[in-house]
Amino acid sequence: MTTAHHNAAAGAAPGPAAPDRPEPQGGTAPQGGPDPRERLAGRDRPGTEGATAVSPVLDIAGLEVHYGLRRRRRKALHGITLSVARGEAVGVVGETGSGKSTLARAVLGLVRASAGSIVVAGEEVTGYREGKWRRLRRRGVVQYVFQDPLRSLDPDLAIGESLAEPLLLRGVPRAEAVGRIRPLLARVRLPEDLLGRLPGEVSGGQRQRVAVARALVTEPELVILDEPVSALDSANRVQVLEILKELRGTGVAVVLISHDLGSVAGIADRVAVLYRGELVEVGTARDVIERPRHPYTRLLVSSAPTLHTAPADRSERAALRAALDG
């Protein structure tokens, strides 16, 4: 665990353990008052009395990611501080280009952080070179599920083979590997006769569950899912979310990335809102949805229709958009 900058952040935060949320601030960069990121860091880290003895599975502090070089250098992520505990589900929401996927890629070592630290399962990975990343990925502590499982599963490989592959790669005998994937299949509610089929031969909902099963083969501590239910219909969506709920119950940390607040609201313990590369709001799903503070979160919540409420009046949304752009 690296603690130095956490303490600094928590020290600057007004009453990190205070149950009340500070008053909303006008824009992305409030003048005066404490930096919102530091407040977030404070709220994210519920003081000493609430802190568990176990270190979080994922601990990101002051993360910066840049794309491009020299004059074309652009900030993709700025000052991200977020931790995810064992058995916790955190939803990361934001619009196209907000940095959601970059955040996931940074945690997987697919993009390099230019500052800050990432601790995965107690291991400080920030300065890792490619070889060390590869070793970490091979251990399968962190797993990633893509939005489109057709792209992440080998189309010419039977589903059973795809599931057994990570185990075979690690020298597990075939018979044992096959024995280990059967209970997994039950866990994602798929029939065993699926094992002999190709990814293209099963439905989209089943395929997404195969992708989840494959992520679980290595018994990860952290699973990151990018838009896992966006393309699914209601029944399949519920099934995948139920599976993730159970997974969380077994102590695995789950990070759900989505452009749609509604698709993470059902299972996320906390929701983190990304806007233009900054974490503008972190809170319980209920807090963020019922009492959004940042103008972008307010716009996001007020744009979403529900069965009982229409989106907010368009002049109200236009005003929020103007506040963001201004």
């Binding site: 209601s234 029944a235 969506r237 509604g262 019922e290 744009s303 979403a304 229709p305 069965l307 989106p311």
Partner: protein, 303 residues
């Protein structure tokens, strides 16, 4: 956002709206622009009936929603109405009438005249419907030229008007851009502009906002409701998001395995569902969507 000032569905060179035209318009209000009766669709390859009798009527300015699971026949129903069923699939029973014309009698030439001019559609993935190597403005202008017979210059002007009407911030700039230069929300606006270019009376939106950011979805839904109010455009909205249908549609069809299990006014179907499957859909939505939180907020606000 400012409402578009010009009437979208009347190209600048269109026929003048005299008293006779107004009378015709009044008659048209009563008559359905799309009428689907007992539609059955069969897959000839497997000799299997996929859609087992769908019926609904759509009058100008109205919106009907179709919800249901993947493979329930929502999209096939839409494609039948557009005359673009995939190979092997054919209408094996019932009828579709577009503005009074039975589509089974149409020749390919008549279909071409009807598509775009009377019935039009937008689908989920806007990028795949545009030519990546032609500027988007030119692609809309082409639709305008072919469909309305306008000359090059007025067609360009009309295309610019359309881009403005779909609330693209800088129509001149967008006109000259290639599809890859535009975001998903901008592309979907371009597609809607092209779809309404020839002043259709029915627009089918098949999961048209599913892939968009929620904030952009809200703007596209605003745009569709403007088109309804101003031009009397009738909408068929296919979505797996009950909330979108709840917001936009006057009535809703719930489909399952090719069957319409429930059909009625949106408020009644979604708030007092009668069929078990509709109840399940509503429950799933309330349990796992934003409704979980926002519905409770609303009931608190109500006295």
């Amino acid at each position: 956002m400012t409402a578009p000032s010009q009437n979208l569905t009347t190209p600048s060179g269109g026929p003048p709206a005299g008293p006779a035209g107004e009378a015709a318009a009044r008659d048209a209000v009563a008559a359905p622009v799309l009428s689907v009766a007992g539609l059955r669709i069969t897959d000839r390859a497997g000799d299997r009936e996929i859609v087992h009798g769908v019926s609904f009527e759509l009058t100008p300015g109205k919106a009907v929603g179709i919800v249901g699971e993947s493979g329930s026949g929502k999209t096939l129903t839409c494609r039948a109405a557009l005359g673009i069923l995939p190979p092997h699939f054919e209408v094996s029973g019932g009828s579709v009438r577009i503005a009074g014309t039975d589509i089974s009698t149409l020749t390919p030439q008549q279909w071409t005249a009807l598509r775009g001019g009377t019935i039009s559609a937008v689908f989920q993935d806007p990028a795949s419907y545009l030519n990546p190597s032609i500027r988007v403005g030119a692609q809309i202008a082409e639709v305008v030229r072919v469909k309305t017979g306008l000359k090059r210059r007025p067609a360009r002007q009309h295309a610019l008007d359309l881009l403005r009407a779909v609330h693209l911030r800088d129509p001149q700039l967008v006109y000259g851009q290639y599809p890859y230069e535009l975001s998903g929300g901008m592309l979907q606006r371009v597609l809607i502009a092209a779809a309404v270019a020839a002043g259709p009376r029915v627009l089918i939106a098949d999961e048209a906002t599913t892939a968009l950011d929620v904030t952009v979805q809200a703007e596209i839904l605003d745009l569709l409701s403007d088109l309804r109010d101003q031009d009397g455009l009738a909408l068929v909205v296919v979505s797996h998001d009950l909330a979108v249908v709840a917001q936009v549609c006057d009535e809703v069809l719930v489909m399952r395995q090719g069957e319409v299990v429930e059909h009625g006014p949106t408020g009644r179907v979604l708030h007092q569902p009668r069929h078990e499957y509709t109840r399940l859909l509503v429950t799933e939505h309330e349990q796992y969507g934003l409704d979980r939180f926002r519905a409770s907020r609303e009931s608190k606000e109500r006295p």
